[in-house]
Symmetry: C2
Subunit: 175 residues, 2 copies
DNA sequence: CGTTCGGTTCATTTTTTATTGAACATAATA
DNA sequence: TATTATGTTCAATAAAAAATGAACCGAACG
């Protein structure tokens, strides 16, 4: 509750925020939040990435919990997610025990690892499943059998298509 | 509750299903359900599309509520969603008052309308917003200003990229 | 060592999203 | 025109997902 970025105009009697977000930050973060919704990703993750995206220097967990008003748990989990995705890179800062992060601001990298993490597993699993299925069609009445077989073949062609297109898509996306 | 397609092995003492799903149907529907999760779409919609995808003949609402154990409301809303998406086509069946549907089984069509409905709006909105923002950077301290300006330019290039790539992607996807 | 700091985990709570079902509309039928 | 069949809408409910925060772990510091 009390998301830092929202449509609401004012946060009434809210908690003291040491370094409140600047208008630019709010706008850009909200932009990332929009995209995250379209992609079915949690808002906190988008907020973290957005703040980092605009920051000229690496940030540590405290920065996220303070400025975005997130719990330690959310920040930790969100950063883990972004690390696993390769959307964020850990940075060593001399004389500071804390882990620091910077955004990996390469569309290609973001898209590719997102697709790899989010879709390839499903596609792979679907492929083996459909192979199995295509084999076990004898048990259907002949009338249906042919139609169903065609549909399954079609579905398989879709996943094949996906695999074929992915690399081209990434190439098209430049650096 | 009581989803027709699930990992569970048995539905114990469940309600009488007149025309229970065949194993092939369960598998294929579950496949669509998997994809729908990755895309952040409700399971009921995937179930409807999956059942229709395999059906050799057009189906009416009753078929969905009966065979998938959905409420009338869900079936109605799910079909509306699929209609709006162009994933489903209405079919007139002589001597039957009910509306019948058949699946539009063209990957290209599905992907294109999904992206159009789900992403283009966000992209468009983001573009105008970022234009506005780029203009109002004077209020930032000069040190930050340059970096932020670069980031915003980058973000804009991303959306431009998206627009450029979309048609190519669709072309690559064949019919 | 013992203490503090930075961070992770995970059971609980909160928030969001999807589903239900009853009330309502509308069109075909008799 | 009354009746029934078909479908939609939407407030209430259920289910799923995300956020919280306290307990915990381990490494650095003194």
């Amino acid at each position: 509750m009390n998301p830092v970025v929202s449509q609401d105009v004012a946060v009434e009697s809210g908690p003291m925020v040491t370094r409140p977000l600047k208008p630019v930050e709010i706008e850009v973060i909200d932009q990332f939040v929009q995209y995250s919704r379209a992609l079915g990703q949690p808002r906190s993750v988008a907020e973290i990435y957005g703040l980092l995206f605009l920051s000229p220097k690496p940030l540590a967990m405290d920065d996220f919990t303070e400025r975005l008003q997130l719990s330690k748990g959310s920040a930790s989990q969100g950063l883990k997610f972004l690390r696993d995705l390769g959307a964020v890179r850990m940075i060593y800062v001399a004389g500071d025990r804390r882990a620091h992060y910077e955004a990996v601001a390469q569309l290609r990298k973001l898209v590719s690892s997102f697709l790899e993490k989010q879709f390839l597993p499903h596609i792979a699993e679907g492929e083996t499943r459909l192979e199995r299925l295509a084999a076990s069609l004898e048990s259907l009445p002949p009338a249906e059998r042919e139609h169903v077989a065609r549909r399954i073949a079609l579905l398989r062609s879709w996943t094949a298509n996906g695999r074929r297109i992915l690399p081209v898509l990434l190439k098209l996306m430049g650096s």
